[in-house]
């Protein structure tokens, strides 16, 4: 029964959601709205799970004195501090929480992401090589799209000459064409593949073939 009941609930919920999409009866709409409320409440628990995971991971690291454990200490102290300030004094504009968010978290977060620019530049220089026909096509397309996104750079490179002006007006169109046709064609194929895979997985779960969501480490049959 520990297996059959969850499988039955999964099957009935899946069938209900599929049927109510195509049959907008009042009863179905009411039940659907109620299920959405449940979903939002359950979704909110993801935050609780996230906090639990964060604390468990870092406390374990501190307890075992693993590599870079002081950073875990900083993470936990920062977390607790923000929670206390937020719950204790509110998060309205002008509050201490708001100040910490704007002047600590925003610059730190932006700085971490900005580092990517430096590493991407270095990685592109070292690894982006025209080693094969496919790599050469990718390289040329990437350069055209990059320059098409920043046509002003072509005026820096070629000046206000005929070539510079022509490239400045043409490159964005070529870039847009690459994005609209070759790129979309490939992307659409991937999207179709993912969609078919999602439908197949949904059916496997509804029919009880795929059971890993029930826990216990069991996969599909």
């Amino acid at each position: 029964m520990r297996l059959q009941i969850p499988l039955l609930i999964t099957f009935l919920a899946g069938v209900f959601m599929a049927v109510q999409f195509f049959v907008p009866h009042d009863l179905g709409v009411t039940a659907y709205t109620e299920l959405l409320n449940w979903g939002r409440i359950i979704g909110a628990f993801a935050l609780v799970l996230g906090i639990h995971s964060l604390l468990r991971t870092h406390l374990e690291k501190i307890r075992r004195r693993r590599h870079d454990w002081p950073y875990s200490m900083v993470a936990i102290v920062s977390f607790v501090f923000m929670v206390v300030i937020g719950i204790g004094f509110g998060s309205d504009p002008g509050s201490a929480f708001d100040w910490l968010f704007n002047y600590v978290q925003v610059p730190l977060d932006a700085t971490m992401f900005a580092l990517l620019a430096f590493f991407i530049a270095s990685a592109a220089f070292r690894t982006f090589r025209a080693r094969s026909t496919e790599a050469t096509l990718l390289l040329v397309a990437a350069i055209v799209v990059m320059l098409g996104r920043v046509p002003g750079s072509l005026l820096v490179l070629f000046g206000q000459t005929g070539v510079g002006e022509w490239l400045h007006s043409t490159m964005p169109d070529v870039s847009e064409w690459i994005m609209n046709f070759p790129s979309v064609a490939a992307k659409r194929g991937i999207i179709f593949g993912v969609a078919l895979g999602s439908i197949a997985t949904a059916l496997r779960i509804m029919l009880g073939i795929e059971r890993s969501h029930l826990g216990g480490g069991g996969g599909g049959e």
């Binding site: 939002r40 909110a44 620019a117 530049a121 220089f125 350069i143 996104r149």
Partner: protein
């Protein structure tokens, strides 16, 4: 040739220095470059908003965090400015917990500059956890998902929310996001409730969203910092006052430097003969 070997083994700190200078100098000197014609997907968003009648409702989703602010914040600033100038009602939500503060401050800043009144011309409803469940829930009843605004005022008391019950009362939804949420808005608000959707995204996400643009599931797409600069140009904002255009100068020089580095790296790679050594190994 020793120079090719030297180039291939260049200390990456020189590259870091080059990128830092390419980014910092244009910002400090407020150097602006002509950006060329605006991209058609950005123009589509602008035209769609222009075609809306004053008093119609546009919902904004601030689904980004500080890490993607340099690209998305200038987009959101320009679009919210356009909406309030056009006398449209702006209702904002956030499915990203960090986006709620960014959105609240942005609305308050632009609203203050344009003399718009919080609760009358715009309102920030704030963050709700649950992602797709929140999107689906608003299709049935916005008040059920957001009984109050972010600051606790009941939305039933707010003039800006008058007659706004579900997506049927929202003329356009614009999602500013750096993650997967635009796909959720398209799938659940767009497909399920026929909500018209536009998106403001980071440039790296563009290839993922162009198929939805072509299929008409997105009415338009503001793509990266270039999209922000294009939108500012469409609004006629002075380049020196436009964060998108100012940022584009840095991005232009940095992109140019990366392209030059990639080309130089390839020339050095073939001229030094390393491609033959690699082929033998």
């Amino acid at each position: 040739m020793r120079i090719w070997g030297w180039l291939l083994d260049l200390d990456r700190r020189w590259i870091f220095l080059g990128i830092a200078l390419a980014v910092v100098i244009p910002i400090v000197t407020k150097y602006t470059l002509p950006q060329g014609k605006p991209a058609p997907p950005t123009v589509a968003v602008y035209n769609y908003i222009e075609a809306l009648k004053p008093g119609e409702v546009v919902m904004i989703a601030f689904d980004y965090s500080p890490s993607s602010m340099p690209e998305l914040h200038p987009q959101a600033l320009a679009v919210v400015r356009h909406l309030l100038q056009h006398k449209l009602r702006v209702v904002s939500v956030s499915l990203n917990i960090q986006g709620t503060s960014l959105g609240r401050d942005l609305l308050s800043q632009v609203g203050g500059e344009l003399g718009a009144v919080d609760g009358v011309d715009y309102v920030h409803l704030g963050f709700k956890p649950g992602g797709s469940q929140v999107i689906l829930g608003m299709g049935e009843s916005i008040a059920q998902v957001y009984p109050t605004a972010a600051d606790g005022r009941p939305i039933a008391d707010l003039p800006v929310m008058e007659g706004v019950k579900t997506y049927d009362d929202v003329s356009l939804l614009i999602d500013f996001a750096a993650g997967n949420l635009p796909f959720a808005w398209i799938a659940f608000a767009g497909e399920r409730y026929n909500q018209k959707i536009a998106a403001g995204i980071t440039a790296v996400m563009a290839t993922d969203l162009y198929p939805y643009l072509q299929s008409g599931q997105l009415v338009g797409l503001i793509n990266g910092l270039k999209g922000a600069a294009d939108y500012e140009a469409l609004l006629g904002i002075e380049p020196s006052e436009a964060p998108g255009m100012l940022g584009m100068s840095s991005q232009s020089i940095a992109h140019l430097l990366i392209v030059v580095l990639v080309i130089a790296g390839n020339i050095a790679y073939f001229a030094s003969g390393r491609h033959r050594r690699r082929g033998r190994s």
